[in-house]
Symmetry: C2
Subunit: 208 residues, 2 copies
DNA sequence: CTCTTGTTGAACACTGATGTTCGAGTTAAC
DNA sequence: GTTAACTCGAACATCAGTGTTCAACAAGAG
């Protein structure tokens, strides 16, 4: 606590050193990748993947939960920034396809990170984030139901669940080598356009 | 090793005592339920749920893996016995609905048990069982594609994946209280009939 | 160059789960 | 009723992951 010529008073924080910032970024990146692949990834694995010692990691993040929270927050921020630009107006079918396309990239990158968050974080935060993501799809699907574009005999919550579930299945399939990543959006779209078509209605062509 | 009047020679096995058999059954039942709910369930939790001490459990099952294997084997046997009776002939749409109905009961009971098996057992066994289950649906879907009842522009493997994924989602939703168990088959059928309908075709009514 | 901030591996304590051992007490079988 | 099979709790060893401490060392900021 030697006052080095700075104005005395409360805790004066100098900006972190350059290598520190570099390491923090590397840790966040590594943690994102590790946790997206395996939600049970070890702190050791993350540190090794980031190219730093375990102690260094703990120097920047108090605990596993802190790290997961930071990663999750960053992921949510990017997801929001990607999804907020999606145009959900106009023809509901086309809008759904746009939403799927945008969601695909995000889900494909962050994979099982949600699971890690669910285990390490208090449910309040996770629930909130989860609800936000669902709300977007819910609004669109509800609008489509009102306009008659989507089937009304299934609850919106179930349609959202199916969308979420099918997307996740596609990511898993890609990861298992059973599906080409480029085909993801088309597969999901084709499935979801079928699911949302009213009984007695004609299924639209996803190739459109 | 006092030979009690039995023919000497190799290991003579008397049948297990009545209470032992009772406990083994209780352990298998408890393990099934616990693992179906949480694939990470502890041996302690299983023992407690079965109403026996941990030591007793280890007396009957050498290790966690052994227990999981036994539970999985029993589950597979029941699943097979239920599914082998399903009539997959006739109209593919009706057959798919029958298959979904039958699958529902099994999946609903065994839930996340697959995950536990995947973690504890050598992948060969799990893959084999998994393949058997998928093959049934695959045959039906392929036949439907040939007859024109199901869409041909999506690979059968993807249709099976979606069926599996949607079924699992429904089980999860029921468990979370978001869906009534009795509605499961209708929700899955409605979704899958939409998914399998060829583009340009008319979606059949699941209520039918 | 100098001083402060960061990094590092090794060693440690702690936790929770698995699996084992022991001895005393029960219970089914015959 | 005698005996062998079974149960049970407590205690123990083991293992893997988390989080901390320490002391030597490296590197950025001024």
């Amino acid at each position: 606590m030697t006052t080095t010529g700075q104005s005395a008073g409360a805790a004066e924080k100098r900006p972190p050193r350059a290598d520190a910032r570099r390491n923090i970024a590397a840790i966040l990146d590594a943690a994102t990748e590790c946790l997206a692949r395996d939600p049970d990834a070890t702190i050791n694995q993350v540190a090794k993947a980031a190219g730093v010692g375990r102690v260094t990691l703990y120097g920047h993040f108090d605990s596993r939960a802190t790290l997961v929270a930071a990663v999750a927050e960053r992921a949510m921020a990017e997801a929001d920034s990607v999804l907020k630009d999606v145009d959900l107006a106009g023809d509901p079918v086309a809008a759904l396809q746009r939403l799927i396309e945008a969601t695909w990239a995000v889900t494909h990158r962050y994979g099982a990170l949600v699971v890690a968050a669910e285990r390490a974080l208090p449910s309040e935060q996770v629930d909130q984030a989860h609800a936000d993501l669902r709300a977007r799809a819910e609004r669109l699907l509800k609008r489509g139901q009102r306009s008659g574009a989507f089937r009304k005999d299934l609850p919106v919550s179930w349609l959202v669940t199916v969308l979420h579930s099918v997307t996740h299945a596609a990511v898993t399939a890609v990861h298992a080598g059973d599906l080409d990543a480029a085909d993801g959006p088309r597969m999901i779209s084709a499935a979801m356009l079928g699911v949302t078509t009213p009984a007695g209605g004609v299924v639209p062509d996803p190739a459109g």
